[in-house]
Amino acid sequence: MTHETIFAGFGGQGILFAGKVIAYAGMLEGKNVSHLPSYGPEMRGGTANCSVIVSDEDVASPIITEPANLVVMNGPSLDKFENAVIPGGKIFIDSALINRKCERDDADVFEIPATQMANDMGLPKLANMIMVGKLIKETQMFTWEQLKGAVTKLVPAAKAAMLDSNIKALEAGYNY
């Protein structure tokens, strides 16, 4: 089984960290994983994205051109990647920030007002974790316990206070 996911949004939304959570959880489960970020001038206030592969096989190309899963947190990212998703793929949209509807009728589209939810919960920086929660729920890439375990290990001891908030946000997305 191979899960290919592209996360995309703008710099500052925690796009790369969201991808890292998935890659890290995959590693803990003994899978082969890769996390390839976009890098360069476009990251500063512009768009950021990363390609994350979690697989039982060796990861050959770390580049994803036709993702099975797409998580988008701004309009330009939906424009850019919408048509790349494979037929039958899953598209996760932060509907609090993206005004238009996804035009694909051959993919499963999930609209989550993640940024609004995060603000309402008093966790304005954690919309990314809400999206991750929903992604894991719908793809069954990992169990809830596996996901929680990965985040617990990933949040550094010095930022232990952040752990509860991260898990709360993940849970909100998972149960949405």
């Binding site: 890292k20 890659a23 890769s34 996390h35 390839l36 890098y39 990861v59 190309s61 770390p62």
Partner: protein
């Protein structure tokens, strides 16, 4: 899962160097390898090592020359334009038989070029770059684990043959994260470097590190002696991966991250019924000619397809290896554009004919 950690390529490489006993790093920041320097800046002071951000790449490589001459394990890293600046120093280091490790996380060129991944420094790395009769051993990892493993090997090879060794990655390998495991290597008891200018302690004659030899016959003798070491390297250090080459009609030749993309294309081509294999050079110098001999010895007609992130540089070595005994084709993207499996597959179909 063992002791795997999820790390960015550049940082994993730096950690691997430290574990290989490197305690001296001289560099200058440049995208997409800056994390190597940043990691060294953070770590070296804590372990009694030296991190120094030089005023330029030229300074950094000459600091490497000095430290290497004193016999310590030393590394510098840069990306394409910075490596061009280092060429004079690299030639001097080769001419003085000083071991060191030079990392090139290649980006698009020529000139300042861009910052996206490329392999267009193949000629520079394998065919000189600097002046004179010399070679770098050039190691080309295709995963972060392999980059970590080859970093340890790079220091060993450099010390064994007294030569500079280059690790050549690309921006993708530097920036991506993969799980890696660091093997425990004991570097507390490395062989003593009797040639090093590490102080005589008033007990021996002084050593001299130098690359200037005015007397032609003296210089020729030194170059010939060095060539014997290169011959030993060719005999002992060639590394490559070959998959399914014997029954193949089409053999892909690719290194580094491009090889991974080629492998994805290979798997798709096999599903369509094409007989495809791959040769992945791990040492770009010495080039793995024997992989081609083995593939050609099966006798069936073959086409070799060199896939690169350049306008066609390694393909020249592929032609030398094949020496007219098979067709050689090329596919490449350049300027920081990474070829897709689809594009490579289309080229395989073009060569193999529609099925």
């Amino acid at each position: 899962m063992g002791n795997k950690v999820l790390m960015k390529g550049n940082e994993a490489l730096a950690e691997a160097a430290i574990r290989a006993g490197c305690r001296h790093f001289f560099g200058y920041p440049i995208t997409p390898q800056t994390e190597v320097s940043a990691y060294m800046a953070k770590k070296m002071p804590k372990i009694g090592g030296t991190f120094l951000q030089a005023e330029s790449e030229v300074s950094a490589i000459n600091m490497v020359y000095g430290a290497g001459g004193a016999g310590v394990r030393v590394m510098t890293s840069s990306s394409s334009p910075g490596i061009s600046l280092k060429q004079e120093g690299i030639s001097y280091i080769a001419g003085a038989d000083v071991p060191c490790v030079i990392v090139n996380i290649v980006r698009g060129g020529p000139g300042l070029g861009g910052i996206q991944p490329a392999q267009s420094d193949y000629f520079q790395a394998t065919k000189g770059g600097g002046h004179g009769d010399y070679h770098l051993v050039v190691l080309a990892p295709s995963s972060i684990q392999e980059m970590v493993d080859l970093t340890a090997d790079a220091f060993d090879i450099g010390d064994k043959y007294r030569c500079p060794v280059m690790i050549m990655g690309d921006g993708m390998l530097g920036q991506m994260m993969e799980p890696v495991e660091f093997k425990d290597t004991d570097v507390s008891d490395l062989p003593e470097k009797e040639w090093a200018t590490s102080g005589t302690g008033m007990k021996r004659k002084k050593n001299i590190i130098n690359s200037l030899f005015i007397e032609a016959s003296e210089l020729e003798d030194l170059v010939l002696e060095r060539q014997q070491r290169y011959d030993e390297i060719i005999k002992n250090e060639v590394r490559y991966e070959a998959i399914d080459t014997e029954g193949a009609d089409i053999i892909l030749v690719a290194y580094g991250t491009t090889a991974r993309i080629a492998k994805t294309a290979m798997a798709k081509a096999k599903e369509l019924g094409y007989k495809v294999g791959i040769i992945r050079p791990i040492t770009l110098w010495p080039f793995p000619f024997e992989a081609f001999e083995k593939a050609l010895s099966s006798g069936t007609k073959k086409t070799f397809l060199s896939v690169e992130m350049s306008m066609g540089q390694m393909v020249e070595d592929v032609r030398l290896a094949v020496n007219g005994r098979a067709d050689v084709e090329f596919f490449g993207r350049t300027g920081g554009i990474v070829p897709t499996p689809k594009e490579i597959l289309a080229k395989i179909v073009e060569i193999g004919g529609a099925k």
